[in-house]
Amino acid sequence: MPNTPTSPAAGHLLTLLQLSDSALPTGSFSHSLGLESYLSTEAVHDEASFTLWLEKFLSQSLAYTDGLTVRLAYEAAGGAELARIDALVTAAAVPRQIREAGVKMGARMLHVATNVFPTPELEEYRLQVQSGACSGHPGIAFALGARGAGAPCADTVAAYLFSTITSLTQNAIRGIPIGQNAGQRVLRAMHAPVLQTVDMIFGLEVQDLGAAAPGLEIAQMRHEHLRARMFMS
């Protein structure tokens, strides 16, 4: 007897999978977001130390920056609110390379999203970026694309966080280096922290956007003059 699906596959699942795919041409493979500075001091040097670092990065930094940006952009009522979120998250990237990474990856994510999953909101945001009124941020473009496909907000935030975690893990596989299987173990170990972080993000407020840990910011700033860099941030 052939298997029949108990419920039809949700169309938004495929949109989230595509937007979260590490092959999406956003350039995330060239950004370590400060990790490379921890590699250079060997504070991060193996699977265990990377797992610990990644969990802290997720819950103590990414939640407040991109994670909260995705949620707020998803919930935004219109272009003016999106412009405010764009301005806050860009201004909150105090280390230069982190600001540049956001603008670069934002432009590419926006390009993909407007081409593949066009919505009036994405088009309006694209025009705001084109005119210079907005800087462009990958979290905002991702949120608008996912919302347009009918993805629920929590799934959208979880998918974005896990996508960034996946990029950083692939960078760690090359950068530490650790094996592909070790990388998969790290990703599996991040499932629970990602879900906890999504919960936490729903308890945050606009004033929390861009909250930054000083130790991480120093690592991100010192990356500007690191010798023998593999990554742009």
Binding site: A43, L52, W53, K56, F57, Q60, S61, Y64, A87, L88, A91, A92, V94, P95, R96, Q97, R99, Q207, D208, L209, G210, A211, A212, A213, P214, G215, L216, E217, I218, A219, Q220, M221, R222, E224, H225
Partner: protein, 298 residues
Amino acid sequence: MSAIMAEPPAIRELGPSPFAGTKLVGELRLQVGTRAGKGIATRQYHAGALRILRPHYLDDTAQVCYTIVNPGGGYLGGDNYGIEVSVDADTSLLLTTQSATKVYKTPGTFVRQDMVVSLGPGAVLEYVPDQLIAYRGASYRQFTHVDMQQDSSLLFCEVLTPGWSPDGKLFRYDEVRMRTEVSVDGRLVVLDNLLVKPGADSLDSLLFLQDYTHVGMLLAIDANIGAGDVERMRELAYKIGEAQRTEVHLGISQVPGPGIAVRALSNSTEAINAVLMAVIDALRHHLRGQKPLNLRKY
């Protein structure tokens, strides 16, 4: 007490309070302008646990220095403080504190300080307070809004340290946030949203403090801070940092505005201060031809 200014409040002239609707434990509103070639408070108001000392002139420039005093001695849970500072066109203000700000245990709540700064064309504000000391169980949130012009100049720094218990052990405070929003000509340029949660152990604080205890930050926004200046400041700060007996771990980056941001971690207030003061002095010299800052407090 004779040093404390006793002029009547001039709220009407200062306009509506930015803290209206908030019950404040201490409120200070200060407008500084230029009279007879020198900076001076033209309007001021204080209430509750915040006052200012009479003005000083620390060098041969027109820059006026005011010192904020908290006669209450320390901040307690649920306390709200409000400080409004307006600097008129082409006036220079140095704002400091009389002593460290102490935040004690704040069970179930936090201390909040709001600061609203407005800088006119060509105005200068240098805000160089003593360190903030957070004791065990303390939560502190500081919100600063700066509205400045293309040709005004801002220099803002903070040092955050843990309190010591009577037996000499370091306290772990709960959380400190210092959120500073700077707009130039009405456009947001920098949101410096510092968050420190020391957590239970050094693994928890890997990204916040690593194995250090003290945090320093500096933010300067001025149209004349170029990329080359940022490189020079970095070299200087690293050199001064390396000369300290206690290690200073620091980072420097260029921010929009344009400007510069400094972050420092250490186990010593003196070591962090040495690095921040070197950057402050270099910026004062480069931007205004002013002599090194001597607050004459020590």
